[in-house]
Amino acid sequence: MSEVKTVENMVSITIDGTTYQAKEGEYILNAARANDVFIPAICYLTRCSPTLACRLCLVEADGKQVYACNAKVKDGMEITVDTPNILEERRAIMEVYDVNHPLQCGVCDKSGECELQNYTLELAVDSQSYAIPDTKREVKDWSTVLHYDAGLCIVCERCTTVCKDMIGDAAISTTKRGGEPLDKAYKETMPKDAYAMWNKLQKSIIAPSNGTDYTNCSDCGECTAVCPVGALTGRDFVYTSNAWELERVPATCAHCSSGCQIYYEKKHTSVFDRSEKIYRVTNEWNYVSLCGAGRYGYDFENRVEGKDEAAFNAAVEAFKKAETIRFNSVITNEEALMLQTLKEKMGFKLVNPDARAFQKFLGAYAKAAGQSLYSYDFKEVMVTDFVISVGASLRNDNPNARYAFNNIQKMNKGAGLYFHPVGDNLVPTFGKNIEVFTHKVGLEEAALYLVLDLFADKEKLPEDVKSYLESFKSTTTKTVKEKVMKEVTETVIDEETGEEKQVTKKVPEMVEKEITIEKNGLVELLGKESDAFDAAFEKMMKKKESFSMIVGEDLYFHDRAENIAKLIALIEQTSPVRVAMIPPKTNSLGVALICDLDDEATGYTVGYNENGDFRLSALGDGDLDMPAMNQQEGTLTNMHKRVTPTNAALEYNGYELNDLMKVLVGAPELTVDWTEKLPVEKGFRTAKFDDLPNGYLNDGTENRGYALENITCEAEAIAVEKIDENGVLEGEIVYRCNPQRQFNDFTDKAHEIFEGFGLYAAPEKAKALGEKVEIDFGGKSITVDVIEDERMEGDITALADFKSEADVYSLFGPSRYRKVTIRKV
Amino acid sequence: MEVVSYRNVETFVQHIPEVTALGVWIKAIIILAVISAIAGFGTYVERKVLAFMQRRLGPMHVGPYGLLQIIADGIKLFTKEDIVPQNANRFIFMVAPVITAATAFIALAAVPVFPDFTIPEWIPVIGGTFVPSIASDLNVGILFVLGMMAAGLYGPLLAGMAQANKWGIIGAARTAIQFLSYEVVTGLSILAPIMIVGSLSFVDFNAAQAGGVANWLVWKQPVAFILFLIAGFAETNRTPFDLLEHEAEVVSGYATEYSGMRWGMFFIGEYANMITISVIAAIVFLGGYSTEGLGWLWIMLKIAFFFFLMLWVRAAWPHVRPDQLMWLCWKVLMPIAVINVVITGIVMMV
């Protein structure tokens, strides 16, 4: 693998006389932060592109003034953070930021955690020299969760940057404020950068980029997290609490397999109700970005009065007569281990459809690849510059995978291939170099063969595969008009600073050419023009060094999952492409590793957060209450192949699974005592729960829990089968897929998540379907509402599976796609 | 019976109607009732006077000007729990306050407290009974009174020793030394007037000073008067000699463990003693009483003056140390008293 991973060369730089080591090609600001050197900066976000809005990070590097967020380190670079001129600039910038900023710090939700306050104090701004008439700026609610107080906004553009570069929605952007023009006299008297920054600031304000008053986005709330002042906040949080009153509990988000690090922030409910309540979720936004489920789906706790002994005894009885335990993957590793122990000692069957499919797939992959886990985690994916996504509905399946895909396009000048049957109009907007294959359902193998064809070293491929790939190729001659890029040099005046710049532009010219074209049947099979794709692909591959592939749930729930797993192993073996997989649910990876799962449930069934004859439930609707994820300690295995600890934010008074274990087979005192017993042979460590860290270091190093060991084994010879076109579905197809921000019953329980259960369809399709439909799966049927999803395209509809009550998994069986009959109701 | 008025002092004794046992009983009851009431009232007066001298108002809320405060206090004392400490000598502990109260009242038996009178005839049973001014007109009245007051020493002494409390013991010890020592001064100081009058009967003292202010013994025996007053303060445990139960030093001295009415009996005894000393001082040195006209008022005023003096002194002066107390007694007062007796004797001889 080392041949693809870029070895990061360290260079030495000198900041204020002290020598530090920094990664080559890193921005000065990041290098300084990694070395605990403070350089003031407001607008810069790690992992996003420099905005140059605040200009505070001005430093002197090798005698030249540069912006630390924008200038890369060079070996032997001498950097001075403060020079008299720079200090003057910074002071002027902070004074400008303070012009007309409302003096309502007393009520502001930032309540002292404000970067404007901090830098005003840091740069000792004790008087004001500038003034301009203020403009009325309205308070607006952008969506069901976003609250924007334009009066407080300092237009640092962090929100727009993160929305574009990380989230990919690009739902907000700067727009005209309609403010008064600056007094011309300032241009002479003010420091240059401060004037330029003010000139821009005075003209702009943030607004939804679609031109309406409301954002059309995934409501992730990341913009509220990065806002340095109190301008952007969660609607539900506005004016409810000061930051200092909230107790921060570091935890791991339990909604999807991203397993993001979050802080539950809690305090008492009200003056009269002293029981604690979570007020909001915050994150280390420089190092991890949350989705809407993580940020707003926090109040899913199961409040119980006390220990219900009768229910507990009934549960013990139920376990004694049960044959099967049905559960889902929204459980901790410890609980998974408990269930496995129960299986070993009492002979239960363990049924978990999502983890079972993933387990099988991972098993097949492991056999072929000779390693127990996939090669890349998503942090590694994020630093590659070419990314392929197969079998994952990026927008819905996993926010972190989507952020990685988007971030690669924005930050690494990357390119991407997106293979998915369901049309999506968001993914193409992530970057210019994205080719979207909206292929027919069942052609995932073809996608992988295409990847092999495009990236694999043909020498390494087995003969049969090589000849199979060749069989798709054909040659034709064609006259085409071709675009030729011509370089033109122009003189342009910069709008903001008024400086003149020499800009080199590439202007397309049309030239007619007669060429021989190789036609690739695979591309055609996947629904694209072969020659157009070839041209685009050639462009995409320019200056690309590292390649990654995201593999999603469609492939695990596939008739030919085993063959697909082998194909993926073959891709890794023969090409520089490295694979990261998205586990279908929160802890599917952990469950797949820990539990020995069965396919079918038989006899009396105990359901844990699932249907069953006796139901243990953290949702509060079962026969015996269990603690929800924000009420229990434990570890989760996330898709970054990392075991991360989570903590109890809220009190839980009832029984937990460990109490049942104590009675049934004997168990240690605490649930977290199981942590050190996690199976080492599967890559876990014998680490005590209390020793697991949960945070980030200054340079962004993820210091959370521990990384699973990727255990290598003897790899079998890979024998892959050809594409099976019999599995191709046509007609009315339903896809099992959750809306954004919904992952399971717990996100559904949260009051700030509004996405409903139903059949999601592209606008036109939704119109055709009407308000409510009955979906006939041939035998079983379900009646659901039709919900319009503007981001969807095409005829395939998506049925949400987050309600375990509806038991959508059993409707679909071993595939994520089903051919159905839909009737209007 | 007729109501007689005596114009001549010489005939006073001869004209005394027959004193019946019933008359003495009635007198005793009157003394007991009135003196107890006065003792109670005394506490009110003390609190008021001290308050005024400190520019306060004193008790104001129970009854007009706080007059009913005595009743409130009485109710409180009577209804309070009677606590006997676990390790106390129960019998002695319970008897001791009775001794104090009893001796104080017994002493008053030989003191002329009110003018004599005859109960009107129309009252049944006791009608026509003559009630004497002195319950028991002993010819050794002064000796009896001093003796009884000296016997009162046993009250605090036994109380302090019986209660199994260190403050009580210290209080008892202080009682013993203070009372015994000042008994000497009292006796010696009053010896000189006795020598002059030649009798131990209060009636004789009264008679000897009849005829106006000029005849008062205080002019003849000023030193004895002052000595008697000082010793009287000590005998009654008043400031500046209130060492027996000085709060700042011994909590409450011999009375530390007492509560309720038992403590109240000490209190009544103390105030009865104050009255006794005031009466003796008024009779022996300030001319006593006259049965004529407003004579009864005069004796009242004289007694009241001495009572007030005690309060006044308490408001003005700090108390002395025990060693100063003994020094004052044995090194200053006692020699002066002896010298006073000797000089009086010499003057009488000459």
């Binding site: 008087s127 409810t240 | 108002l57």
Partner: protein
């Protein structure tokens, strides 16, 4: 202030008179003389005279010091720290409290709690505000830290009640709207200093 000055900060013009104390006599004659001197000096009677004079002054010259509390009450200093009051804005009658929570934060006995919310006028509304007077130590920090002089200490020092809650809610402490004209500006702990104007830097305004 230097340390030396700090130590001597109370030294100044002081009207202490040093008593002319004699040495304790050593000889018996000396002791006797002292006794005689003390005995016949009228100092004892001066004491009696003083108390008598005070009594006469009190009884007849109206110099009685007793205040018949609770029928009479002494005026108290504006700096006195009794039960809190929440003041209103004189112009609008709206309560001054902006719900910033600083009093809640600074309270060293943790007795202040408040609930705030976003109201219809897009302002922060204080929906509940209580002080637990069972815990309050009347230190005055809340009044001092309050940026709006909204919470101040009032003159109500009689805090005995059957219910501690009797004066602990927002409505109990808030100036009644009909008595707004009687509201006194607080000049105790945390109030604006008389020379505040001199200490303010001017900010340029473009209007």
């Amino acid at each position: 202030m230097g340390l030396e000055q700090f130590k001597n900060r109370n030294v100044g013009q002081q009207e202490y008179v040093l008593l002319d104390l004699e040495h304790t006599p050593q000889t018996p004659m000396g002791k006797f003389k002292q006794v005689v001197k003390r005995t016949f000096k009228p100092e004892l009677f001066v004491g009696l005279g003083v108390t008598m004079r005070e009594m006469i002054n009190a009884l007849f010259k109206g110099q009685m010091h007793t205040i018949k509390y609770p029928f009479e009450k002494l005026p108290i200093s504006p700096r006195y720290r009794a039960i809190h009051e929440m003041l209103r804005l004189l112009e609008s009658g709206h309560y001054r409290c902006i719900g910033c929570g600083l009093c809640e934060k600074i309270c060293i006995s943790n007795c202040i709690t408040m609930d705030t919310r976003y109201d219809e006028n897009q302002r922060k509304e204080v929906s509940e505000y209580t002080i637990n007077f069972g815990r309050c130590i009347f230190c005055g920090y809340c009044a001092e830290v309050c940026p709006e002089l909204a919470i101040v200490h009032g003159p109500r020092y009689e805090t005995a009640s059957e219910q501690r809650a009797s004066f602990s809610l927002f409505e109990d402490m808030l100036t009644p709207i009909d008595k707004l004209n009687l509201q006194q500006e607080y000049d105790g702990f945390g109030a604006v200093t008389p020379n505040a104007d001199e200490n303010i830097k001017k900010t340029p305004l473009a209007y």
